[in-house]
């Protein structure tokens, strides 16, 4: 593997650039991360950040509707975008001959996207279908990423549904889109990342050519989304007429992933000790020992680690049979956490987790799309893309005592418990897409 330090610099308009050349294979990844996610959308406009992401594919000054997709794909490339709590990313992976095209496409929509009524209405319909597909028409839809935050958090940014309610989506206007773009999609609020087969000199020249004249706009002030942790155990139930088995998600608050990285990493290791692999504590106790649950998982972040700022969530999820009492599951979980809090794990137990982390970071680097996106996200969140390569060492340095201390903080009297309960369909729930 040839890993050199990624090159970082900033254009005059404030656009941060990360270049990570690697000529192993003749493909290139290009991504743009904007520093706005669904935590920043205004009240009454739930789902707007994601809807706006869709609109960014609908054309710009030099590109008719559908042209973006056609140009990427007719160059042999693939594309996508995704909306996260604290950022929105857009990317292309292409044969390296198409590098300039990808830069052109990203620059054109950063400079002058076409935000039209017709495209907005079309994409509201598409997003509603996406929500029906992923949430309303399937069992456990939105579990736990939509269902748990309103139990664990109090404030709108942290608690609301990032996919959005249909009413809010339908009320979105072109004027909302213009204001959102002007506020958050400034070059100074974005990171451009290029990884793969290119030379630095050529990429720098092409980036200046295409992004250099995107007009500067002020970088919006980033609000704090901090709120105090829960002062009690908070419970809520979500009846799901499509779910055949009950499920539970337990949410805890954890240290600031940015400002307290090492403390955060202890929770990452704790998640591995608890639930990664057949030999892990909760798999052994809940799945194979007491046979209370059919599956159990634990992790940092609603969509995985390193994609949100403070406040972030530690989640334990399980699916169990209707004959099992929820409290029996919770008692077993709490006992295992207490055991770790009382006695630090053996180093060998941590070594299993750190080796799997090292391997999974290699695998992320192996795929050019995930490599590009990770470099961009780490520049955006940490101001340090090279952290991607430093993580295995940082993770390996976490001590058993730190993991034990992390377990001590997963307190039953400061957490959220969200259950999904199978329910009979009613006329109301069956038609709740209106």
């Amino acid at each position: 593997m040839t890993v050199s330090q990624p090159l970082r610099y900033t254009l005059d308009n404030g656009l941060r650039v990360v270049l990570a050349p690697d000529e192993t294979t003749p493909v290139v990844g290009v991504s743009v991360h904007y520093d706005v996610g669904f935590r920043s959308e205004p009240e009454g406009r739930t789902g707007f950040a994601h809807l706006f992401e869709h609109l960014m594919f609908q054309g710009s000054e030099s590109l008719e509707k559908l042209a973006h997709f056609r140009h990427v794909q007719s160059s042999g490339g693939t594309f996508n975008g995704s909306t996260h709590p604290d950022y929105t990313d857009y990317f292309e992976v292409l044969p390296s001959a198409a590098l300039e095209r990808a830069l052109f496409l990203e620059a054109d929509r950063m400079r002058a996207p076409k935000l039209t009524e017709e495209n907005l209405r079309n994409q509201i319909d598409v997003v509603k279908e996406e929500i029906r597909l992923n949430v309303l028409n399937r069992p456990y839809g939105g579990f736990p990423w939509i269902l748990l935050p309103p139990v664990l958090f109090d404030t709108f940014p942290n608690a609301h549904n990032g996919y959005g309610g249909f009413e809010d989506l339908e009320q979105a206007t072109v004027a909302d889109c213009a204001a959102f773009f002007d506020t958050y999609y400034a070059p100074a609020n974005a990171v451009l990342t290029v990884a793969g087969d290119f030379t630095v000199d050529n990429a720098r020249a092409l980036i200046e050519k295409h992004f250099g004249d995107v007009p500067a706009r002020p970088r919006p002030e980033r609000p704090s989304f901090a709120e105090p942790p829960p002062a009690a155990e908070l419970r809520a139930d979500h009846p799901d007429p499509l779910a055949p088995l009950p499920a539970v998600a337990i949410g805890y608050r954890i240290p600031d992933p940015i400002e307290e990285l090492d403390a955060y990493l202890a929770y990452l290791l704790l998640a591995g000790v608890l639930a990664d692999g057949d030999g892990s504590r909760l798999q052994q106790r809940l799945v194979y020992g007491d046979q209370l649950v059919s599956e159990v998982g634990a992790g940092c972040g609603m969509f995985g680690p390193f994609e949100a700022r403070d406040p972030d969530t530690f989640t334990i999820t399980a699916m169990y049979s209707p004959e099992v009492d929820l409290d029996t599951v919770l008692v077993a979980v709490d006992e295992e956490i207490e055991r770790l809090a009382g006695t630090a794990p053996e180093q060998a137990e941590l070594t299993k987790v750190t080796a799997r982390w090292a391997a999974s970071l290699h695998k992320e680097h192996d795929r050019i799309v995930s490599r590009t996106l990770a470099l961009g996200a780490f520049e955006l969140l940490y101001g340090n893309p090279a952290l991607v390569y430093e993580l295995p060492d940082r993770i390996a340095a976490i001590t058993p005592e730190a993991v034990s201390a992390a377990a001590k903080q997963l307190r039953p009297d400061a957490r959220a418990i969200l259950t999904v309960t199978p329910s009979q369909p009613t006329a109301e729930t069956a038609g709740d897409d209106q």
Partner: protein, 453 residues
């Protein structure tokens, strides 16, 4: 600052021209060895050193027409990595974890698949754990009992998912009770499986002859094959693994409506007969499929998603079996636009079959096909999975390397012929799953069979 959307979408310079493509560098040649071991196992090893990892895929033909096979096979897959005489479940997990490794098993009506990866420095451990499971898995009584219980719960959950309901319905509609349709056994069938059945199936069906092992990563191919041969020396049988028998040719027909009361969205699943990768018409069929619904810039997606907003997701794709292939068209749409979406799909099929695609459309899909092959084979995992799929139908790395040339040679006329031959609406059959009470407009389209009340 407050600009209008119109002001945002306009600059003084005006629209700019699309830059041309640069010079494309070819992929560096992958060094590889493709051989058959004395025990009959085909091994393909490829050196690809993007990261210090090794990817492993084992594909064992695993078909049977025994009615109990699907259930027994599922339990076998769930317990094959849970212990041998030498290692219990925790030891398997621990040894793999210490080399950053993982292994998992899955089964379908055609294949038992074991796959995973590890740090390249732990390749010997990965092979040792795999070999031990293949030759020494004991399927202990308590592990079988526990996995059966979890499997029954997982099956219950899987069978509640609309895409699974639609897939099972399509399989039944296309192939009746053929073993190919038994993708998910009934919970009651799993409950009947005894440990002795699992062990007997392992002894008679987990066989090296006719199976294929794919190894891709930071490895020396010849040495990797020698190591695999040594590790798997104890895996022997004179018998060959059982390949799925040919499927009956697909009969076009009415779409069957499947009732799912309360559904807010319908699953449309269409299918038609196609040809395998080895057929001379395949490269043209591949390009035709892309143009129809095989990528985002296709007729299907541009119509029912980007123009009409009927769906988030629509696609067409080929499904391969050892001796054939079919075309599938999938989309999910809100109940009230299901009939309209089906009408548009049929319109696009008819238009595609009757009016030859423009040469520019053919060039676009060709570029996409060649380029996406390049990106999807730029990672170890990507190469491993593609090779495993090709090897399961008797092909290998040479096919993957030559395929871009085949695609370059396809003419627009050949794509038009493939569109006509394979995409005519009269070739298709399929199912629509949804809330029957909301799907009455489908009746006006014809060619639809509703369930008897």
């Amino acid at each position: 600052m407050s600009r209008t959307a119109e002001e945002i979408g306009r600059t003084t310079q005006g629209p700019r021209p699309l830059p041309p493509l640069g010079e494309q560098r070819a992929a560096t040649n992958l060094s590889s060895v493709d051989t058959v071991l004395p025990n009959g196992l085909r091994v393909i090893a490829v050196h690809q050193s993007t990261v210090p990892m090794v990817e492993l895929r084992l594909r064992i033909p695993f078909a049977s027409d025994a009615p109990t096979h699907a259930a027994t096979a599922e339990v076998l897959a769930a317990t094959i990595l849970t212990g041998t005489e030498r290692r219990d479940r925790v030891a398997v997990d621990t040894e793999l974890a210490l080399v950053g490794g993982e292994l998992s098993a899955a089964v379908d009506p055609e294949l038992l698949s074991l796959g995973g990866n590890a740090l390249a420095s732990g390749f010997d451990t990965l092979l040792a754990v795999l070999a031990d499971a293949l030759t020494g898995a004991v399927h202990r009584d308590d592990e079988v009992a526990g996995e059966k219980a979890r499997l029954i719960e997982r099956i219950t959950v899987a069978r509640s998912k609309p895409n699974v309901i639609a897939r099972l319905a399509l399989q039944r509609h296309r192939y009746g009770d053929h073993p190919f349709t038994r993708e998910i056994p009934e919970a009651a069938e799993v409950a009947q499986v005894r440990p002795v059945d699992v062990r007997a199936l392992h002894a008679s069906a987990v066989l090296p002859r006719g199976s294929v092992l794919v190894l891709v990563g930071d490895i020396d191919p010849a040495r990797a094959i020698a190591e695999a041969e040594s590790a798997l020396r104890g895996w022997q049988s004179p018998d060959a693994a059982v390949v799925l028998p040919p499927l009956p040719h697909l009969t076009p027909g009415d779409l069957q409506v499947i009732s799912r009361p309360g559904a807010v969205q319908s699953q449309i699943r269409l299918s038609a007969q196609a040809v395998p990768r080895t057929d001379p018409r395949y490269p043209a069929l591949k390009l035709a499929n892309l143009a129809f619904g095989g990528f985002f810039s296709s007729r299907l997606v541009e119509n029912i998603r980007e123009d009409k907003g009927y769906t988030y997701h629509a696609r067409s794709y080929p499904e391969f079996t050892p001796d054939g292939s079919t075309l599938l068209i999938d989309t999910d749409t809100a109940s009230d636009v299901t009939a309209a979406a089906l009408l548009e799909i049929r319109y696009e099929l008819g238009r595609f079959a009757l009016i030859a695609p423009e040469p520019s459309e053919v060039d676009t899909v060709r570029q996409y096909a060649v380029g996406s092959l390049l990106t999807s084979t730029s990672s170890q995992g990507g190469i491993a999975s593609q090779l495993a799929a090709l090897a399961a139908v008797g092909l290998g790395l040479d096919w993957l390397i030559n395929h871009p040339l085949q695609l370059q040679a396809v003419t627009a006329d050949e794509v038009a012929a493939a569109a006509q031959e394979f995409f005519a609406p009269t070739n298709f059959t399929g199912v629509v799953v949804g809330d029957v009470d909301k799907l009455a407009p489908l009746k006006k389209l014809g060619g639809i069979h509703f369930p008897d009340k």
